[in-house]
Symmetry: D4
Subunit: 210 residues, 8 copies
């Protein structure tokens, strides 16, 4: 989807050729363009048609790619903390990070902090706490965001992840428990790393008073 933020393209579901065409048109028009959920076929199609004056950066963990015609993203403005409960949540976290960094934020991460005991979470939070906003990513029962929201004063965005089998698996239990949470929490769609990262960057940028 080229929507919301015009310079981001969702590769998934697009023919590689068509995808490459859209990307190159966008980078030409805007100087910079990101894609998420990029497959090897999408990358090949892009590489085959890449003009010499366009730089291409592949972020494997985020399944993302960035095209640009030279200029750096804006200087860092605001800090986003990204936490995951497990290791399966990392690709969604990396997608969020990619966008937040592109939107000029500093990003700090703490992955796989949902299990090895609450002290591990506490010490991770201590490192992250100067952050302006927290993105907390979890599958299965999805309780980590509510726990973090009970411990920090800044806004917490919950991201359900499509792990978990059986009843309400595939992220549905996580979505439900985040929406029902007693803590103050806002939520995005299952696996929606892009939306979470972009929303967090908007928060981190700070409002009009500043």
């Amino acid at each position: 989807v080229r929507c919301g933020m015009p310079e981001v393209v969702l590769a998934e579901g697009k023919e590689p050729e068509a995808f490459a065409g859209i990307m190159l048109a966008q980078v030409k028009a805007a100087g910079r363009c990101i894609a998420t959920r990029v497959s090897p076929e999408h990358l090949d199609a892009l590489r085959a048609r890449l003009p010499p004056d366009v730089r291409m950066e592949h972020r494997e963990a985020a399944r993302g790619v960035i095209l640009s015609t030279g200029d750096e993203p804006a200087p860092r403005r605001g800090t986003v903390a990204i936490l995951t409960a497990g290791t399966s949540d990392v690709p969604v976290a990396e997608e969020a990070r990619l966008i937040a960094e592109e939107m000029g934020c500093e990003v700090r991460t703490a992955y796989d902090v949902g299990v090895a005991g609450i002290h591990r979470l506490f010490s991770a939070l201590k490192d992250l706490i100067p952050a302006d906003v927290f993105v907390v990513i979890a599958g299965r029962e999805g309780t980590l965001p509510a726990i973090v929201a009970g411990l920090v004063d800044r806004p917490v965005i919950g991201v359900p992840v499509s792990t978990g089998y059986g009843y309400m698996g595939g992220g549905e239990a996580a979505l439900a428990s985040m929406l029902q949470a007693c803590s103050v929490l806002a939520v995005v769609n299952i696996d929606a790393g892009f939306t979470a990262g972009a929303f967090a960057a908007q928060v981190a940028h700070g409002g009009s008073r500043k």
Copy 2:
């Protein structure tokens, strides 16, 4: 439905007159008989027909009533701990307690420990920990059972409660998050205080080796 344990009657959905008839037949046959989800109308019908040799005990918080022809329940055997996350969960907890006590268990409770900070939960658990089994009752996102299961070595039974509005309200989010929980947890139906209490008593009674 008079099911599971024949001497327990679910009053809800039964005509008061029919209910009283079933109860009196059972106490006559078995010497002792419990009902759950009892309304004032059920109580009135029972009182109006109560023979002098049958003793009736009304447990208001549990919405329960016990008829007996004299003899005490069996001596205490095993200890059941019952915790609730909030105050709305208490009627379900009291239903569980009523049955567990009738089945001869000692019951210890800690209600409303889901919110006032994790230390409150820690100190509650300290008092309860010699228990043989834990029944943990929570609505909305239903995370308390999983947290308790991460802290104790004995079996934890999660009971979802029909609180919470909106998406997956009415206990569904709680049920889902308990079934998806990473901790080791077994679950009963939404609001099923009776089943949880009876199952816990079976665990607390201890197995054949003893």
Copy 3:
């Protein structure tokens, strides 16, 4: 639920007497205490037991009540804009406003801007745009939040409202369309005015850099 933010009590589902007890305990402990979804019976129970040194303020449109022992809320810090698509959404909006104001934010509102043509929305946004964050509340198909998110640079929080009959009525279609939105949007539970208002206040307060 006394959860998330300890000084807020959800009156709905609580016995009036028990409710009043909880409120008075809280205001004594914390100097200030809010309740939402308050019925006339809850108010009566509160009034009957109100000590002379506790001030009670009833916010009818928000179905809320504030108890305090004297001191004002913190001075205004940050601005929250609240929009509704229709008039049925206003009680949810007022609940959000009550909390955001209690958390020290200036709140500006534009209600019923979802229909009378897009120009009405444009002119409403012009008045609101210096806001730090937008809470956009809509029922039925729930598209207003995504439209606003396409027009402003600050974070937009979508609140689905339980209007709409038939298929996916009661706010479910609105929740679904907000979670699927192409615009950058974070979402709270159906009718969750309290959560939206508190989250928006956290955003409006601004991060650590300031």
Copy 4:
């Protein structure tokens, strides 16, 4: 199922050999016959058995094929406008177009008008507005049909498309938001390009008075 309009065959789910047999029987009987959702295997089976006096036209973008024994479809009668929100919606749009043209309508299209700003939509509508009826196709949150219905006086048929992941993905959120829409809108099943095109043609043909 060969249903609705007897001369249209849904290839999907039919064995290629059986499919070819049905098609040839129909073109022999009726002089003309269309198939939708045709795979390469279906095409091969058809080509292998095609008699010299039957003409075969493959419409790739619509995944359709037309067999005929000579005569043109009826002369153009009425105009159908077809719009899509994104590029993923185009195959459904092309299926609608194929049928509407076969039913003798002039078809005008505007694809991918859901995102590049509302002015792009306005200018697209300006070109299309003399149309008798609008088919508007969108996935994810599916709001484009309601927006178009608010802007034109002629009937608008919404077609949800099976894009979007996570909660109510696969077209369900789009279906829900179209059914809940405040604008006057009629809806067909998810991905049902054929039904939308045929219904639109019936509208465009005009009623008995003409």
Copy 5:
């Protein structure tokens, strides 16, 4: 929600006083104004505040009311046929009729034709067939619209009705079977008489060529 067509007000869910205020403002501004799903309380509030120069017409079977300052609706343009499967569907049919007539169409009806044998339906259709468009309303399994669509050449709009208990009751089975129908059919939300009537009127008005 005053939406879709600005001069139609959905009374349901509005406070009687607020409802009356909205209605009177609209009739003053537009000379004419309709409300649907009107309760006796809504009517009383309206009557109490009705100025002498506003005429009020109550359509009981349609649960509707029309306010006007004198001028007739536009002269008849196009014919809409409305059929129901049973008698429980009649209020939805009358709501559709009210709107279609207000939009200047002639309306012909055949109610309760779903059961007394297929000949009853045939003879009803014979009377209705010169219509430009058919609105077919049915609850439970909702098959009547598909049957009618198989018998007529003009567009058929299916309206599911919230009858039927048990699995997929309340109109859901009817909605599902209409969306899955083999015949060419467009659908509106469960009980959405207003939308069906307005959409049918748009079809009946005829397109730009006329």
Copy 6:
């Protein structure tokens, strides 16, 4: 599942080797044994281990296989009529036929009678009507069983089939419309040809009076 009727094995989901073992044990014990949903791999495993004194019959259209050690099924007793709405429903119909014949019934079929006009159905029924019971199989909106039930006096068993895409596709709309049907109809699970055939045979066998 070897359940209900002990000599029928569901091949699907079983390892070919394990499947062959179960089949051969059963034919040895009972002289006769059927399997349904048999893949080529299952057939190969069976053939490889088939002893010379066991006869194997492969019913391809029914995806079934029959093992026997000689004796014929019981003589024909009762007549079962099987109808399908489309051609995609035929494998389910053939599974029903296989079982009903094995249970000693005469089976008459009329396939693909749901579309080519109601007269085609009428003439099919005329041939079938002396049947004792009707199995009517349909996917998508699943209305054929209800129509047949309105035309015949003998019991009609509806079988939903997993065709149809989009909302409530995969047989769910068909199941719902059959359960909601106004006609007198009993239903089995989606695609459950075996259950329908066996139930029909029980009906056709006739009761104790005969």
Copy 7:
């Protein structure tokens, strides 16, 4: 619904006056007419308008009423056995009995046999077994029909009942478990006593051979 069998009227959801009119028209036309789900208000309306030559019989347990102008139902033909798991299922059973008797069948019943141990069921079945067909009615987990089907050779019709709270309560778990049952079982809608009774009567009548 006056559908399926023309002389049966579903009172529920009909205005008492309209209901009485429909009933009297039917008894005049057909000599005999039944209604189910009749409220006291329906009865009053009927009594108030009952002509002297129409006899009215009220079957309270079945919530049914029978109007007739004299002649008895047809002589008994076939035997239907009706079993319930609990006492809450009895009204549905009585509705089934009313119809089956009206259709000329002998009906034998065994109520509340789902719990008091399997021997109680065995002895009940012994009395019922000469029956031509079994209607087995159960709520909550709904397993009784499958158990009966495993014990008898005649057709078993399962009727789910809307008891049971929590997850899949209201009869949904019962419907699901009956459709998934390993035994040979056909099913009707939740609480559909009328359909089950009429279907059973059709089976009991016996087929054409007799």
Copy 8:
């Protein structure tokens, strides 16, 4: 997710290389480590990196693997009985067994006892009855756990299995019927052999009194 019990790793969904790394780190730290849902690729990765001082045991039926640096699991303490209704349930049963044995319990099993008649179940139970706790595993309608719970005095844990097609297939009907069961039963997620086995072991270990 490495959760619940830290020394158990869910292989499914993990990259083979990452999986092997996690396993080896755990066995080094804890002397012993189990994995469930292990694919051949996971095994290969493990074997390729296995140090000489780590012993690897592959439990094929349980899809599990155990790494250890020498010492045996704790001596047997408590007895767990595991039953399955069918043969498809065996992998889930073996997963439960693996964990329970690792936790030091004696395990006795009776597989495929759901069908060959109730006497087979009775004789199986006779062998198992000295067990401290029962794990009962069933798919489709999932009734076996409730039947066992009606026959034994020790706690019964129901495990729904993802067998069964059509309506509520994939284990959902089984889950629903277990949660609605009249017998006293606790439940785990669909296919959750690990959770059931670990919970059963906690029960079998016996409580604090011993």
